[in-house]
């Protein structure tokens, strides 16, 4: 009887231990749920805020945006922009430096390559400040190709940082360009009565 009692107690203890282990593992698995979902959600929120900042923030908040005029002169002439928003700069860069060609892949018809370079540098500075501290990023601003007299014109501006393997989010915003801004012949859509839309996409990646 004593021997039978000892075996029973041992089985009881073993059953109890296995039940505690089961409950604990179930609780532990609950406590580590969905951390990816949280970081994606945070990244989305940051990306969205960054896009809003690009639309409403002015270049003066980052620093002085200076560039030389579109033509070379011997006399001194330097332009400084202070009150333009970043999106304005991107839109104006698109108007100044379109890329026409049979499939929109010709050489950039640059009216002011310095302006294009400065816009990219300035955007990089802005994005480094807005999102670069926590995330890797890839920012793309593009205008859908426009066909006119058999020639296709497009515009693409990419600004990116070093980034890790995991893409956390991708947020976009569309920004229709006013017709008064698109008078240059490559972008002139009056004949087609359609309009140009600048689409800006910000992807945030893990670092």
């Amino acid at each position: 009887m004593k021997e039978n009692g000892g075996v029973g107690q041992t089985l009881d203890l073993l059953l109890f231990a296995s039940m505690v282990a089961l409950g604990s593992s179930a609780l532990i698995s609950m406590s580590f749920h969905d951390s990816d979902w949280l970081s994606q959600r945070y990244a989305t929120s940051v990306a969205r805020r960054a896009l809003v900042s690009l639309q409403w923030g002015t270049v003066g908040e980052i620093g002085e945006f200076s560039f030389h005029p579109s033509i070379e002169t011997i006399w001194k002439s330097e332009f400084v922009l202070k009150r333009k928003t970043f999106v304005q700069l991107i839109a104006e860069d698109a108007i100044l430096n379109p890329r026409p060609g049979p499939r929109g892949n010709g050489p950039i018809l640059s009216s002011n390559p310095e302006f294009d370079g400065k816009v990219r540098d300035f955007l990089k500075r802005a994005l480094d400040e807005l999102v670069g501290g926590r995330f890797g990023y890839r920012f793309v601003a593009e205008i859908a190709p426009v066909e006119r007299s058999g020639e296709v014109t497009n515009f693409e501006l990419v600004v990116e940082s070093d980034r890790g393997p995991e893409k956390l989010c991708s947020e976009s915003v569309s920004w229709p360009l006013p017709p008064v801004l698109t008078g240059a012949r490559e972008w002139d859509l009056k004949a087609s009565r359609s309009r140009l839309v600048l689409v800006m996409t910000l992807e945030l990646w893990s670092k």
């Binding site: 109890f16 089961l22 928003t85 108007i95 002011n112």
Partner: protein, 741 residues
């Protein structure tokens, strides 16, 4: 549970499992709830950011609409009737642009399945602009019925945002440009004034230094360009220095223009205040000479009377006096006797001293006259000192001083020698008269006859009437003898001194006499400045008095100084006439920064004309405040110099002389009406260099390699004035020639 009350571990474990399952269920439900809420938040935030994008797009569309309108209107600013017209046109074009944009948006959907709609009413959008700080523009945009409606795809979340009215600040200083250019266009007279001043500077520098005035169209054109650039600089803080430098290349280095030449001379060649001051001093000299004249005229009449005594009066007084005394004796009025006797004695003493006291009076008058002459000389020396002082900063007055004083025969030296001569003559007269003095003392032999010791005797007689009567008896005998003796004395003195006195009188008369002119000159007098230059010149003869030709006299001095004064008055009148002919001169100096800016070398890009190049790359303003670049375009069609002084009309290389004989000076003057005409109305355009905010497409039909370019707002105006003119009057005291270069 056993008999000892212990439960099995398995039972406890079952409870734990049940508890764990409950907890898991609770956490699962909670996580689901959080995720659901978070999704809602995400949708809400997405909707808000989409709505924000729409707002941003609307604002930017309105901004570019206003940019475009500002450009179109301000590039043709003079095509509108006024500020209001321009403002209305800007609002109309901006509204049209905005409505075009809005019509292309309807309906505009967002990008990610979220339904973002833009609702608009039937009414068109409108834009009102008004000035903001520092000449910027604030636009009030009104889109009636504009509502941004955003809904989640499952309609779980949505909102409507009314966005009918909003304000945007346009970063182009349209109102500043308008104010500045209107100010410039309204003050074109200042350009004319500056050009005039520069021409005066150049002409006077040439006339006074080189004795030759060169009229050159190149030079006038360059000075006009400089005046224009200077006015631009003072209005806009910059100028079209590149255009100015280009035009100046035609005449060479601008540094050759004599900036900094004495503006006192240029502004007021015959300084009326200086001339007036000199004339006032000459009047002081004349006043003293008139004082001397008065004194010496009195002396002249007195000198003849020194010994011209009529003793009849004395006799009558003596007879009357003796009778009175006798009647007092009869009345035994001793007191009255003594009194009347004393009076009689006094009459005699007075008569005896008359010749001497008259001589003293004459000498004193002579001294007074000389004092006036000395003061006149002193005043004249002050005139010369004043002229010398003025001459130090007034080159024309320096010339006058030089004419007046240089050379041995100079008028000033003649006058000074004449003063010395007059003073010497007066000293000689005084000497002659003083020599007469001893001979005019009445000898004691005569005065001892009467009154002699009789006065003392009468005093000691006291009340002794018989003694008094004896004394009176003696007196009656002596008085007539004394008169007789005195008469003889006077007669002798007259015989002795009359020739001297007559000579002195005649010398004084000569000193005071106004001499006859002793020289004359025949000359041609031309119409004065301001008079009809076509009037015939008149041949005239001037007569004057030359001191060196005669004796130095007060009359001569007076005559010469009156002639000098006449010429000074004429000089003053001429100065006023020249002043009124030339009008006001506004002094200005060419700005050093402007000169530095003009020294830049430059070439224009071959693809563009100058205006296009400025639009695309306006030159840096000379001053950073207000930061405006300037362009101008005008072509000088003709510059004319119409000669207006009488001689210049038939002898273009010579000035017209005005002779001022009495101050040994000739004024030479030449006068032109200078007119500059531009081929077309001048074009003035200013750029808001500080705000290159406009992106303008380049024209498709052009050869431009550019598709679009940033430009600052330009304000372009055709100015109303094509003709600029002024009167150039050059006045010099030295002969100069006129040359056309």
């Amino acid at each position: 549970m056993n008999e000892r009350g212990y439960a099995a571990f398995t039972v406890v474990g079952v409870f734990l499992i049940i508890l764990t399952a409950a907890l898991i269920e609770h956490f699962s439900w909670d996580e689901h709830r959080v995720k659901m809420e978070s999704a809602d938040d995400m949708v809400e935030s997405l909707l808000l950011s989409e709505a924000g994008s729409v707002q941003s797009a609307l604002r930017q569309a309105a901004r570019y609409s206003v940019y475009d309108a500002l450009w179109k209107v301000s590039k043709n600013a003079s095509g509108y009737r006024g500020r209001e017209d321009r403002e209305l046109a800007i609002e109309r074009i901006a509204s049209k642009n905005l409505n075009e944009f809005l019509s292309s948006l309807d309906p505009w959907n967002g990008s990610f399945g979220l339904d973002v709609r833009l609702e608009m009413g039937q009414e068109s959008a409108s834009v009102d602009i008004s000035p903001w700080e520092n000449g910027y523009v604030v636009a009030l945009v009104s889109i009636p019925g504009c509502v941004i409606e955003a809904n989640a795809p499952d309609n779980s979340l949505g909102f409507r945002l009314t966005y009918e009215n909003f304000e945007i600040i346009i970063d182009s200083r349209y109102y500043l440009l308008e104010d500045l250019l209107e100010g410039f266009a309204g003050d074109l007279d200042s350009i004319e004034d500056k050009w005039k001043y520069a021409e005066y500077m150049a002409a006077y520098a040439e006339a006074l230094v080189g004795r030759q005035v060169t009229l050159s169209k190149f030079k006038s054109q360059a000075l006009f360009q400089l005046a224009w650039a200077s006015q631009e600089l003072s209005t806009f803080g910059s100028s079209d220095y590149l255009a100015t430098a280009l035009s100046l290349c035609e005449i060479g280095d601008v540094q050759q223009i004599p900036w900094g030449y004495s503006s006192v001379v240029v502004g007021n060649p015959l300084n009326t205040s200086h001339i007036g001051e000199v004339a006032k001093r000459v009047e002081d000299v004349l006043e003293e000479l008139e004082g001397a004249e008065r004194e010496l005229a009195e002396v002249q009449s007195a000198v003849e009377d020194i010994v011209d005594l009529d003793l009849g009066d004395l006799r009558v007084k003596v007879d009357g006096g003796l009778e009175d005394i006798l009647s007092f004796v009869e009345e035994s009025n001793v007191e009255r006797v003594r009194e009347r006797f004393g009076e009689l004695c006094e009459d005699f003493r007075l008569a005896y001293s008359t010749p001497l006291s008259r001589l003293e009076g004459v000498l004193s008058g002579l001294e007074g006259g000389k004092l006036h002459v000395q003061r006149a000389e002193e005043n004249f020396r002050q005139v010369l000192e004043l002229l010398e002082e003025i001459a130090s900063d007034d080159s024309l007055m320096a010339q006058l001083y030089n004419n007046f004083t240089s050379g041995d025969g100079a008028l000033a030296k003649q006058i000074l020698r004449a003063f010395s001569g007059v003073e010497r003559a007066l000293d000689d007269i005084k000497f002659e008269l003083c020599a007469c003095e001893p001979g005019l003392h009445v000898p004691s032999e005569i005065s001892s006859i009467f009154p002699g010791e009789l006065e003392k005797r009468l005093a000691s007689a006291e009340d002794n009437l018989s003694e008094i009567e004896r004394i009176l008896g003696d007196a009656r005998e002596r008085v007539h003898k004394a008169i007789e003796e005195f008469e003889n004395f006077i007669g002798d003195a007259e015989d002795n001194f009359r020739p001297t006195f007559s000579r002195v009188s005649s010398e004084l008369e000569t000193l005071l006499e106004r001499p006859e002119p002793n020289w004359f000159e025949t000359y041609v007098e031309y119409p004065d400045p301001g008079k009809d230059p076509n009037a015939d010149p008149v041949t005239k003869t001037v007569r004057g008095y030359l001191i060196e030709g005669g004796e130095p006299t007060i009359g001569g001095l007076k005559l010469v100084l009156e002639e000098v004064l006449t010429n000074l008055d004429r000089l003053e009148d001429l100065a006023e006439a020249f002043d009124s002919l030339q009008g006001d001169l506004t002094k200005w100096d060419i700005d050093g920064d402007l000169l530095d800016a003009m020294e830049q070398s430059f070439v224009l890009p071959s693809t563009f004309d100058r205006e296009q190049a400025y639009e695309l790359a306006p030159p840096e303003p000379i001053r950073s405040d207000p930061g405006i670049s300037v362009f101008h375009e005008f072509e000088v069609a003709d510059i004319r110099y119409e000669r207006e002084d009488p001689v210049g009309r038939f002898a273009p290389s010579l000035p017209t002389p005005i002779y001022l004989w009495f101050i040994g000076t000739t004024i030479y003057w030449a006068q032109w009406n200078v007119t500059l005409e531009l081929r077309d109305n001048p074009l003035e355009e200013i750029f808001d260099y500080e705000n290159p905010t406009l992106v303008r497409p380049m024209p498709e039909d052009g050869d431009s390699p550019l598709r679009a370019a940033h430009k600052p707002l330009a304000y372009r105006c055709e100015l109303p004035e094509k003709k600029f003119d002024f009167r150039l009057v050059v006045v010099s005291l030295s002969l100069f020639h006129v040359q056309h270069g």
